[in-house]
Symmetry: C2
Subunit: 342 residues, 2 copies
DNA sequence: AACGTCACAGAAAACCTTTTCGGTCAGCTT
DNA sequence: AAGCTGACCGAAAAGGTTTTCTGTGACGTT
């Protein structure tokens, strides 16, 4: 199966090939192709044709060496598997791709050693900047202030306030969720959420509480912290219904938890959304659309987080450094699991 | 918030800085650091210390320009959002990272124009090779034979048999699934699967049929093609139970379909796995562990597909080209939804 | 003392592009 | 005819590293 011929592997054409074919010097060829003046229109045309014939593509490596900027950035994720990195990565890739910047992808797999290794490798390649994507919104160790290139932290903020971090506004997300439920006329709202070790869980709960307080209300019972799983969603909902049979809304800390809640509600004969409204967080398409009824959820706008991080890195590379933690708003996506009380 | 000072942005040390500090010429410094001979041990030591003091990292850009190989590859996905690309990407990143190769990530978003654009950009950066990751196992258009670097197709094979493609063995996966159900003593096996426009659906069905034929059996009814959704899983299972109330196993074309099937079975009072065994494909953790009972599923070994693609690209870059479609075996992951008939 | 050998260090070329600066030539003015 | 202007083109340097080739001493041999 293996063999050694393969397709044509001729070395790509260089500028001097183009120049030779067009009968001009290298310098003239460069000027002609880059739209600089000092070149007669007719000469320029000859060069352009020669370049086309050889399918010449300027060597970005050489250009990078000369310019001191390579037009590349490193994107360092700590956990590709987790589903939060992907939309951020897509947003960043999108924003950079438009700006002719190429992205090196590195996955540290949650290992600090590997992360250090990747940082060194990326610096060796003279990236113009770095984006560090975390897997949780809890603050993470800074890469340090002594790096030769700007760094932007996305999703997981840096512990160092001198660094620039872009994160979704989880507190605001909790507020928005409760505001939506209040707008639906719900007043007995319970909150079932995930692992209290996660800032996301605490922040969302805090936002929910604050929004209720603003309305002169409070949660039905304490927030129920547990795990980010359907199993916990089911268990906690069962308990909730025993203790507070009159709830008219369950705000769940994730779509998975919400899915579990929906299943138990349905099994126990509660109608959603007529009797009880249910909401989740993350707006994870596969889950929200598989739920019965489809799940209203708060979208964390992660793709926008990625785009914003990319833009921030752009301006930092241009010399204009930001600092501190910048939060981005989320948005409620309404589906069948919430509706006004009739 | 924005401002212009920021951390130290001194240009990284160059080899000539090191040489000057060590009091030797650039050439000697290079030889000392790269372990070549022609350098006295004492001199070498001085150079190494100087390099450490300046935290010198050789400029891979310059090295790449000289060597003609950049130590970079392009990873071109057609659909990052879809969950199949990610494990492949992780496997490839893993295999390359160990080999000191850096990966450019590009997402074409299913758009041919954008794909072409990315290919050109990557070639301009003089990548040593390309991996093209598809979102479906259906054959896709080749990038062409005239590219100056080797290309390996992963997941979605190239239409051109001269190209090298690495794909999971969906036919084999169908066989393995049925073999497992047969080993559990099941004989009345139904198959509910997804969109018949997908080769994955057809291949798995074909494998299932072949394995049953080998055992002198056939499917309970025709394979039920539909959509890759829980909704279809529910609907098809309801129909199936009406038509064939005596099935003792349902092989589902995806974990989502299987989840729908499980829900309907439970709602109708069938015990899983005692009365009916249920299996899915893809081994999508979030789903398999959220199911009641946890779902037995066929893992497509996508990470291994990514690793194999990376290895194949490695050897292709070394000049040893493969061709044709190479299939990789899958594996059954047994959980609570299948068990021997008692 | 002349020569050869050996160990080591440095100069320079190569990789490819961009940019600066100097040079050539036609055409024009005085 | 001499000088000037302006348009155009090419030589060369720069960017950082690796490698080849050419020294340059020290030392040992004849």
């Amino acid at each position: 199966m293996a063999q050694a011929h393969g397709p044509s592997r001729s070395a790509p054409a260089t500028l001097s090939d183009v120049a030779r074919l067009a009968g001009v010097s290298i310098a003239t060829a460069s000027k002609a192709l880059n739209g600089r003046d000092q070149v007669r229109a007719e000469t320029r045309q000859r060069v352009i044709e020669a370049a086309a014939r050889l399918s010449f593509r300027p060597n970005q490596v050489a250009r990078g060496l000369l310019a001191g900027r390579t037009g590349t950035v490193g994107l360092l994720t700590s956990d590709l598997e987790g589903r939060f990195s992907i939309p951020i990565l897509m947003g960043a890739e999108d924003a950079f791709g438009a700006g002719e910047v190429a992205v090196f992808l590195c996955d540290a797999r949650g290992d600090t050693i590997r992360e250090q290794h990747h940082v060194r490798a990326l610096l060796g390649r003279r990236v113009d900047g770095l984006i560090v994507v975390g897997s949780r919104t809890d603050p993470r160790r800074s890469l340090g202030r002594e790096l030769p290139v700007p760094v932007v932290y996305a999703y997981a903020p840096s512990e160092d306030p001198e660094d620039l971090s872009i994160v979704p506004d989880n507190v605001g997300a909790g507020r928005m969720a409760v505001d939506h439920l209040l707008a639906c006329g719900r007043t007995r709202i319970a909150h079932i959420t995930g692992d209290p070790g996660y800032a996301a869980a605490r922040d969302r709960a805090e936002g929910a509480r604050a929004a209720l307080a603003d309305a002169g209300l409070s949660l039905a019972g304490e927030p129920r912290f547990g795990a980010w799983s359907e199993g916990w969603g089911r268990a906690a909902t069962a308990l909730l219904l025993d203790r507070h049979p009159d709830v008219d809304a369950v705000l769940c800390g994730s779509d998975q938890i919400a899915r579990g809640a929906l299943d138990v509600l349905r099994e126990r004969g509660h109608r959603v959304p007529e009797d009880v409204a249910v909401m989740g967080f993350d707006n994870w398409q596969v889950l929200t659309s598989a739920c019965r009824p489809p799940l209203t959820s708060v979208d964390m706008n992660l793709e926008e987080v990625g785009r914003a991080a990319a833009r921030a890195l752009f301006t930092a590379i241009a010399g204009d450094h930001g600092r501190g933690v910048e939060t981005l708003p989320c948005r409620v996506v309404v589906r069948g699991s919430t509706a006004p009380l009739s």
